[in-house]
Amino acid sequence: MEPSDGELLARSQAGDKEAFGVIVRRYMKRAYYAALAIVGEHHEAMDLSQEAFVRAYKGIRKFDTSMAFFPWFYRILKNLWINRGRKGRHIKFTSLTAGDDEEGQIDIASSDAGPFVAAERSEMAKVLAQEMDALDGEKREILYLRHFENMSYREMAETLGIPEGTVMSRLHGARQALRARMERYL
């Protein structure tokens, strides 16, 4: 049976680097994609997410092992990004276009376009991807957590350190902005 996060993190707190390695392998994809959503560039997302794991390991003794790991890690990642002064950077949303691979997912290294692709080849999907790119960081972040991380309101509130009511109003604001921009496609 696979050891639980709590068990692995407790071992990490005792200095077991390999236990932390299991945690890294377990969460690396979520960490990378969360970073990619923020920075919009593959190499920087790799660097940011790996650096966040380094910070997490150094601060592991402060972590309460009864809590979920990812929200804590996401806050480290976000603070690291803020400290790097990348707050003004935009996520690049793109849509899937003819010529992309058969599985419906473009390889990250195969295109200069941003990290997101539309599963549908419709005009609306392409425009939506562009319009998401034009949103401010706070709106993009809340949509990313909801639709790509599939987080509940409670989980988003915990991750962002804000009340659930604020989560709801941010989601409303983000969708309202998209609705205004996408009116002719709706």
Binding site: M28, G59, K62, F116, V117, H147, L178, L186
Partner: protein, 141 residues
Amino acid sequence: MLMMRKIDGEIGEDEEVKLNAHVATCRECAKEFDQYKRIAGATAKLAMKRVPPEHWDLYWAGVLNKLERSIAWIVVGVGALAVLASMIFRLVVILITTNSLMWWTKAGVLTLMVGMTWLFASVAREKMAMRKTDKYRGIWR
């Protein structure tokens, strides 16, 4: 807000009844609700680009390398500080024991060194104070 809760599957039974009743009688809200549903549905269909598998194979090694380098930087920093302190000490000794230097030259150089040390201590103290009052200190910055 009820529309958001319904779209995200976070609505309670009573709230849902209330929302459905209103949407059934208000054409404007029904249109708005339909548009929000379409926006949410289309957003959920966006995907993220695939990363080649070799990136994942090397990921943990990358974290280990960064961890090792961060420790190496601390060692370099401590070493550099020790060398600098030793050089300053030697300089002070030379200044005091060299009789050919004018007293005001000695005083000037010593004052400069005291000022530099003071500045360094001030910045270090500020950083320490920030760490104590920083609400994100448990998170990392």
